[in-house]
């Protein structure tokens, strides 16, 4: 084993003591620090270190070495195998994001969403299929077309994204539905582009001053003035929340779209219309809980665990239970980026609330930590 000595420029092939400073044999010292050198080499390095000047130089390297240590992740292959094994015997799913562009007449797409497989019998002119990694964001949407109406609906754990013929875009949250006319956007001047929404959707509207864009929920109508906004309509609580990312919208009661609006909601604002019909506007609000999901994340703001549980259930298609009533009211503020595994999200929530979380398949249980 030849010793490669970088320091002895004038004495090729002959081993010489190292020259201090400029000509350290970094390769060898790296091996030494990494514990990858032979005993003989280690001995050589130690001899070299006897010189205090070399020692000083080495300390610097040691310092660098120490400071670049990090926590290696713990790869849990048992859990990984269990997860993988459960997918092995299923046919390859056509699990995709659906971006649906259609010409009004020629499209007739129908598919149904059984657990894992999707059957497409489409004569669609242009169906773009894209894969999104991560099973948490399965986005197959049920799409029905009749002569007059189109409807796209998502189930728990699903999102859907669609581009409308007018260039506007909708991203639909899990357990939600949008419905609109087959000839959407093609009406004459003054004919509104209207979308019926149940649940939660994000709308990026292509502005058209002669064809107002409206989102109609059971409680309210939201009319665009050229915007990106989220409408969250809560069926049971009979309330609506509108978060405006950019631009402005006006808020009307369903029967009063022609008249003056209840509110104008602009960029950064959050509007709430509750079951008693009271509309409140919060300017410069924290919109993260309302829009984080549109980028695949999730956010909560002083949200009681019982509501967090409901949201997690909807988004990940889980059955989330809070076993102890003491826990249910604990409030969580958190934001989770896209591409975080459910297990991580659950752990962080549990840690924040000093709770214990357990998951078995689709069932998740939060408990108080036993003392």
């Amino acid at each position: 084993m030849g010793t490669k000595v970088l320091g002895d420029k004038g004495h090729r092939g002959v081993r010489c003591p190292y020259i201090v400073s400029n000509d350290l044999d970094y390769t060898k010292l790296a091996r030494f620090l990494a514990g990858e050198c032979s005993d003989a080499e280690a001995e050589e390095v130690r001899e070299w270190l006897a010189n205090p000047a070399n020692q000083r130089a080495f300390e610097r390297l040691e310092q660098i070495w120490r400071r670049t240590a990090a926590l290696p992740p713990q790869w849990d292959q048992d859990t990984a195998w269990t997860k993988l094994a459960s997918h092995l015997d299923q046919p390859a799913p056509k699990v995709v994001a659906l971006r649906d562009r259609w010409q009004s007449a020629s499209l007739s797409v129908e598919w149904w969403t059984s657990r894992r497989s999707v059957v497409l019998s489409a004569t669609a002119a242009a169906l773009a299929l894209l894969t999104i990694g991560g099973y948490a964001w399965i986005t197959r949407a049920r799409h029905q077309a009749t002569a007059a109406l189109r409807e796209v609906a998502t189930r728990r754990g699903q999102r859907a994204a669609l581009d409308l013929p007018d260039g506007s875009r909708i991203v639909l949250a899990p357990g939600s539905l949008v419905r609109f006319a087959a000839d959407f956007g093609t009406g004459g001047t003054g004919v509104a582009r209207e979308i019926v929404l149940e649940g939660e959707g994000y709308f990026r509207v292509r502005h058209d001053s002669v064809r107002p864009f409206r989102v109609r929920t059971a409680m309210a109508i939201v009319e665009d003035i050229g915007t990106d906004f989220v409408v969250a309509s809560q069926q049971q609580q009979r309330s609506v929340a509108i978060a405006v990312v950019s631009g402005s919208v006006t808020l009307h009661r369903p029967d009063a779209v022609a008249g003056p609006p209840l509110l104008t909601v602009s960029r950064g604002d959050l509007a709430l219309l509750d079951s008693s019909g009271t509309a409140t506007l919060t300017p410069n609000a924290n919109l993260a809980p309302y829009i984080a999901w549109t980028e695949g994340g999730l956010a909560f703001d002083a949200t009681p665990l019982r509501d967090v549980a409901a949201t997690l259930g909807k988004w990940y298609d889980l059955d989330v239970v809070v076993a102890d009533s003491a826990l249910a009211g604990r409030r969580l503020t958190a934001s989770f980026r896209q591409a975080q595994a459910v297990s991580q999200v659950l752990d962080v929530i549990a840690r924040s609330l000093d709770a214990h979380v357990e998951r078995k398949g689709r069932v998740v249980v939060f408990r108080v930590t036993s003392r």
Binding site: S21, T27, K28, A57, R60, R337, A339
Partner: protein
């Protein structure tokens, strides 16, 4: 041979391969993608794809080399398609318990760590990969060599190069 068995649909053989290579492949992916979860996802998707296409599996030489190459490719693909900048995926650094500091309600800014981080980011791609796999993931030279498909000598040289570069960044005059 393992591959033939897998081609025939032998789940046990597949599991053996999985368990043999899972951690190392995660380490490879993690060197590219910064997020442990994403790394695991990439590797699991990879294995799932292999299983689904098992009948047309064609691995001519080493299964190990094939898997490492596949993991690298999948990671690079992921980086290409990643939509959201992940500023916060840096790893949490471990350190020996700090020498007792003077009580201070403010942090002493460490020029050193900042310089080191900048230095690592400035390393050439392969050099950085080797160095971070060693320091951030604690992999041995042999493991790194396997994972990246290079020789151990190359790993040694890259480690030396990284160390030199970082040291010269900190002590430019020297």
């Amino acid at each position: 041979m393992g591959i033939a068995a897998i081609r025939n649909g032998d789940v046990t053989a597949f599991e053996t391969v999985f368990r043999t290579y899972y951690r190392r492949l995660c380490a490879v992916a993690y060197a590219f993608v910064d997020s442990a979860d994403t790394a695991e996802e990439i590797v699991q998707d990879l294995f799932l794809k292999i299983w689904r296409q098992r009948e047309s599996l064609r691995i001519t030489d080493s299964l190990q080399a094939y898997l490492y190459q596949a993991a690298r490719n999948a990671s690079l693909n992921h980086l290409k398609h990643r939509r959201i900048e992940s500023r916060w995926s840096e790893r949490v650094r471990a350190e020996d318990p700090p020498v007792a500091r003077a009580a201070d309600d403010d942090l002493v800014e460490s020029e050193l760590s900042r310089a080191i981080d900048a230095g690592i980011a400035a390393l050439p791609e392969r050099c950085r990969l080797v160095f971070t796999m060693s320091r951030h993931q604690g992999l041995s030279y042999a493991e790194i060599a396997d994972a990246l498909g290079i020789s151990i000598k190359t790993v040694e040289a890259q480690m030396g190069r990284a160390l030199k570069s970082l040291r010269e960044r900190l002590d430019p005059a020297n």
